[in-house]
């Protein structure tokens, strides 16, 4: 179950140039028939056992990216290499077997569980789908995984509405664990929970990761969570990745103006926010009509003519090849908070 048993040639997950657009409106009376360019060329890698946090504001396309990677949508372009195989091109049985190692946890603990099924059946369903184990064996696995997430196996006959939000999320996590996957994609699993519960669930995820050596693709907009859990971070804006780095590097030396703005906006205990070194003006543009050039330029105080015209590529930094930025004028300050650009 550890990463070593597979020992793939490359990283566990390698996303390259992922594109997913949605057609909007259409029909006879639609005034805007166009496309929502939710994911516009996203690339990153994820190693076995690693946690990569995908952060960004709402509407930036991170949920779409997550779902496309999980093959809930078909990518319009690009590749998703998981355990060496490109999921984008798989279908039918091949896709089904690839899914065993890749599971997903969703944001809404109310909506992600079928209200008509007892939770035992919900958790066990992946086993049934893949025809694993006899009835007895499945019962055992069910009990084990329920205990691991902090639920009482005797509650297996109850229905989702009889559990609290936090417990439901545990059920969802149990469901994701039952197939013993290599990678779990967690789409904002904490956002719908009460703050006091959030840390419990986060700690649960950390324990599970240590115990099983799982890799996590963790979608979130909450930088505090990122600080607690992620090994590496990828920052997303309007369908593009603008920066990826190890966690410490990102927080200490963010290179993209947007990243800097995100970090500066995190509330500090003791009141007030960190002093905003960079102001961002304006609203987030609509993903249906993204501006040409760098997607951030309308809000960026450092924007120049080049920014308006050409799309910056995600380039590794000289001093730290693991740290990549997509910016024509990246921040060069040696330290983060409060320093002038």
């Amino acid at each position: 179950m550890s990463a070593g048993s597979h020992a793939p040639a490359g990283p566990l997950l390698e996303v390259e140039g992922l594109v997913k657009h949605f057609r909007m409106g259409g029909g006879l009376f639609a005034r805007h028939s166009g496309r929502i360019q939710a994911v516009n060329g996203v690339s990153f890698t994820l190693a076995a056992g690693e946690t990569l946090a995908l952060v960004g504001e709402s509407g930036c396309g991170k949920t779409t990216a997550a779902r496309t990677i999980a093959r809930l949508y078909r990518p319009d372009a690009g590749s998703v290499r998981f355990q060496g195989r490109d999921l984008a091109g798989l279908r039918g049985r091949a896709l089904k077997s690839a899914r065993r190692a890749l599971q997903m946890v969703f944001q809404d603990p109310f909506g992600s569980l079928n209200p008509r099924l007892p939770v035992g059946a919900i958790i066990n369903e992946p086993l049934k789908i893949h025809g694993i184990g006899t009835r007895a064996e499945r019962g055992e696995r069910l009990a084990r995984v329920m205990t691991q997430v902090g639920l009482n196996p005797r509650d297996a006959e109850r229905y989702p509405h009889q559990f609290s939000g936090g417990q439901r999320q545990r059920i969802a996590i149990a469901r994701a664990l039952v197939l013993e996957p290599e990678l779990i994609i967690a789409d904002e699993p904490l956002s719908a929970l009460d703050v006091s519960i959030q840390s419990q669930i986060l700690n649960l995820l950390k324990d599970i990761q240590e115990d099983r050596g799982l890799a996590f693709l963790f979608i979130t907009h909450d930088l505090a969570v990122v600080d607690h859990f992620a090994d590496r971070v990828a920052v997303m804006y309007l369908g593009h990745i603008v920066e990826t780095a190890r966690r410490e590097a990102l927080f200490e030396t963010p290179r993209h103006p947007y990243t800097r703005a995100l970090i500066d906006a995190v509330p500090v205990p003791g009141g007030g926010k960190r002093r905003l070194g960079t102001a961002t003006a304006g609203d987030v543009p609509s993903p249906a009509a993204p501006p040409p050039g760098c997607p951030f330029h309308p809000r960026c105080p450092r924007a120049s003519e080049t920014c308006r015209r050409t799309m910056p590529a995600l380039e590794p930094r000289a001093e730290d090849p693991g740290h990549r930025v997509a910016c024509h004028h990246p921040l060069e300050a040696p330290t983060g908070a409060g320093g002038a650009p």
Binding site: G25, G26, G27, L28, F29, A30
Partner: protein, 324 residues
């Protein structure tokens, strides 16, 4: 919008053509064929004669060929002769059609004239006694078997209190407007009572729905009187929904007319369909059924167009599907 209409027109034509084939095939599956009928009336025909006649009339050819032959003739205007009336089908139909138009038209007008105000009234008195009574009456209206209703009316007004004729469209040896009117009373009453229940319910529901809208509340807040609000806003918008639903219940109205005509021996399209199907008048049955299909399709098409035209807020997602 025109694209939509054109699309729906094409659809309707396709359905009509498909149905013409289906009906043709179904009629062919009715007991007996023209040759059998000939044999029945002339026992001297031997099986050899029968076989020869079949070949002559092309009755031994496969279904598709026979259908295409019929279709070709039909497109040229020749729908064959009616066996029961010994005349070309197209000569026989118009008379029956007119009678049905009278019956359905009259009932429709009366039903709607009563249902609309009644529905609005009930909607405005929601949850109160008047509303419950109206609601109950509507339920009764939609639950009553129409042929039983006809029978009860006949018993009441032609048997127990013999003031109206129980059948036909005119008395023997007589005619004239009053006579026609007397013959129409019971059939029209039957069909009207049959439809009024559902129309009233629709109107009531549509009015309630409209009254709930924010712009109505705004009008009240602006100080408009109840009557004004109802007449200017609620009525018009509820009417939109009702127009479409009523057009869609054309099929039901026609079925109701069919039964009514059969009960009262009223010579309309419905009775024509029934008699020709039961009487093995294949040519007539085919054309009458096809006509009924055509008219129902047109009514549905009209409903869709009216709905689209009156409510441009609808968007048809994913390729021109129906806005419901």
């Amino acid at each position: 919008m025109t694209r939509y209409i054109a699309g729906r027109l094409v659809e309707s034509v396709v359905v009509l053509i498909v149905m013409s084939f289906v009906i043709y095939a179904l009629i062919g599956l009715m007991p007996g064929d023209p040759i059998d009928l000939m044999i029945q009336s002339d026992p001297r025909l031997t099986p050899a004669d029968a076989a020869r006649l079949r070949a002559v009339y092309g009755l031994d050819k496969p279904l598709a060929e026979r259908y295409l032959a019929w279709a070709a003739a039909a497109l040229a205007g020749d729908f064959g002769n009616s066996r029961l009336y010994a005349r070309p089908v197209l000569d026989v139909m118009p008379g029956f059609l007119l009678n049905t138009v009278n019956l359905m038209g009259l009932s429709f007008v009366i039903s709607v004239a009563i249902a609309i105000p009644l529905g609005i009234y009930a909607a405005l008195r929601q949850q109160r006694a008047a509303d419950y009574v109206v609601n109950l009456a509507c339920f009764a209206g939609i639950s009553v078997p129409i042929f039983w209703l006809a029978l009860m009316l006949i018993i009441l007004f032609a048997v127990l209190i013999p003031i109206l004729p129980a059948s036909g469209v005119s008395s023997v040896g007589g005619g004239g407007f009053l006579d026609l009117a007397r013959h129409l009373v019971l059939p029209v009453a039957t069909l009207t009572i049959f439809s009024i229940g559902s129309y009233t319910r629709f109107m009531r529901a549509a009015t309630i729905e409209v009254m709930r809208q924010d712009y109505i509340r705004t009008a009240f807040a602006k100080g408009a009187s109840r009557g004004r609000v109802v007449m200017r806003h609620a009525f018009r918008n509820a009417l939109v929904s009702v127009v479409t639903i009523v057009a869609l219940s054309f099929g039901t109205l026609f079925s109701g007319a069919l039964i009514t005509e059969t009960m009262f021996a009223y010579p309309g399209m419905g009775k024509l369909i029934f008699d020709s199907v039961m009487g093995n008048d294949f040519n007539m049955a085919l054309v009458a059924l096809l006509f009924a299909t055509l008219v129902t399709l047109l009514a549905n098409l009209g409903a869709d167009i009216a709905y689209a035209w009156l409510d441009p807020r609808i968007s048809y997602g994913g390729g021109g599907g129906r806005p419901r």
